[in-house]
């Protein structure tokens, strides 16, 4: 079967509309909202801060901890019971792997940088939106970072490779889902996962589409970070 037109009418390479804002959690050292389609991630960074219990401390560097959490009313069907699941624990780890390569916490031995990511609503692509939000929040917190991290789920629906799956595509029976986190300036990949079935040739197309999509996400991130600061014309 051929996938002629996307369920939501988007072009095959088209991302859903994005919105981003930094500084949304006042108590945090850095924070951001990243919205793509109907998936909304709010990320807050605390740290570097003191880490307890002591046995978790690393005397050579600060460490990163990510907490991914879907709010109870953010799922497609029934209420999501609070308290996390095996799925959410895996995603925490995936997000840590996505972000850690760009961070430099050597100046902060024994400390921790905590990143909390909550979702008030979701429509697939949560780990990717979470990574985009977390990366913004870390930059906002002033953590030393070599690059931003951008992420998007590329997928295959029937015969077509498509960018930024929504829930309908993600849960489609004859489809594959490839979440990818990419560093926009070096093009390096910090996360790749997949379920479904693709050919090795598909991967070439997937990477090309991911790179183009991540560039667009990076533009949104850059604009959001700059928007936090007043401009000269605002004050004179």
């Amino acid at each position: 079967m051929a996938y002629e037109k996307r369920f939501d009418g988007r072009g095959f390479d088209e991302l859903r509309p994005m919105e981003a804002k930094v500084g949304v959690v006042k108590n945090a050292d850095g924070s951001a909202m990243f919205k793509i389609g109907k998936t909304t991630a709010i990320a807050a960074v605390y740290g570097p801060r003191e880490l307890h219990p002591k046995f978790l401390q690393n005397p050579e560097t600060g460490i990163l901890r990510v907490d991914y959490n879907m709010l109870p009313f953010s799922g497609h069907g029934d209420r999501v019971k609070p308290g996390g699941s095996r799925r959410s624990r895996e995603i925490c780890k995936v997000m840590e792997n996505a972000l850690l390569p760009v961070l430099d916490l050597k100046d902060w031995p024994n400390s921790v940088v905590d990143v909390f990511v909550d979702f008030p609503q979701t429509d697939a692509g949560t780990r990717c939106a979470g990574i985009c939000a977390a990366s913004l929040a870390l930059a906002d917190a002033g953590v030393a970072m070599k690059d931003m991290v951008t992420a998007v789920a590329i997928g295959k629906v029937e015969d077509k490779i498509v960018v930024d799956l929504n829930y309908e595509e993600d849960s489609y029976e004859h489809g594959s889902d490839v979440p990818i986190a990419m560093l926009p300036n070096s093009g390096k990949i910090t996360v790749i996962q997949m379920d479904g079935e693709i050919t090795p040739e598909d991967l070439v197309v997937i990477f090309a589409k991911a790179e183009a999509a991540c560039r667009k996400i990076y533009d949104v991130q850059k604009a959001a970070l700059r928007a936090k600061f007043k401009k000269q014309e605002d004050v004179s």
């Binding site: 760009v102 902060w108 401009k231």
Partner: protein, 232 residues
């Protein structure tokens, strides 16, 4: 003379984001907060680009306080030890104030140390030792170092502290003179103040304005005008 292939990509004093290319060509030298990646100099954090000839560095716009030797900090007593006190100071590392650095008085063994500093007391102290693992000693010996009685403490962006203090303390003097408040600015991003309730409000508003606008030129003039308008 710059080689023709040296190209500056960003303007001086512009806000740049992690990974952003600042300049290309081997003629440019990466300073603090930047790094070289092949031909280009990249931003290693969020910051304000500062270009000085061929050297590009970043002035941080946000970030936690990293303790430095000789910094004057504001802290809170969170524990009383056998021969001193533990001080929390708005960063991942607490510090220790030992008896010998706290007072010149003779203190007998086993004396009640809370008569000098009790839990919850606030102090302004100086960092006299920082190890690689961030074990920190502070001292109360020096001009202006003391217990902070009364007043209130607000948290500010530690990276903006130099602008709140101003050149040789000019900015904080301006605010003190205009409001009649007593103000102590800690390098660690804590500001203590005391004065009339209305005057304190003006101090807080002024400091928030400095935090919001210090990356733009003409700050001192704007702050003077602001204080004048506030009738302070």
């Amino acid at each position: 003379m710059a080689k023709p292939e040296d190209v500056l990509v960003v303007k001086d004093k512009s806000v740049v984001v992690p990974g952003e290319a600042l300049a290309t060509g081997m003629g440019y030298i990466p300073g603090t907060g930047t790094y070289r990646d092949g031909e280009s100099v990249q931003a290693g954090r969020l910051g304000l680009a500062s270009i000085d000839g061929k050297v590009i560095k970043l002035i941080p716009l946000s970030g936690k306080y990293l303790p430095k030797l000789n910094d004057r900090v504001i802290g809170k007593v969170i524990d009383v030890l056998l021969t001193g006190w533990r001080i929390e100071m708005n960063c991942p590392y607490s510090s220790v104030l030992t008896l010998k650095d706290a007072t010149t008085e003779f203190v007998a063994r086993g004396a009640d140390l809370t008569q000098y500093f009790a839990l919850g007391d606030w102090v302004v102290a100086k960092i006299v030792n920082v190890t690689s693992q961030k074990l920190i000693d502070v001292s109360m010996k020096g001009p202006g170092l003391r217990k902070l009685q009364g007043g209130r403490v607000i948290v500010v962006n530690p990276q903006k502290v130099p602008r709140i203090i101003g050149k040789e303390g000019s900015m904080v003097s301006l605010i003190k003179d205009a409001t009649g408040c007593n103000i102590v600015v800690g390098q660690n991003g804590l500001v203590w103040m005391d004065g009339e309730p209305q005057a304190q409000l003006k101090v807080v508003e002024t400091i928030r304005k400095i935090e919001d606008e210090s990356h733009l030129t003409g700050l001192t003039d704007r702050i003077s005008a602001f204080l004048q308008k506030k009738g302070a």
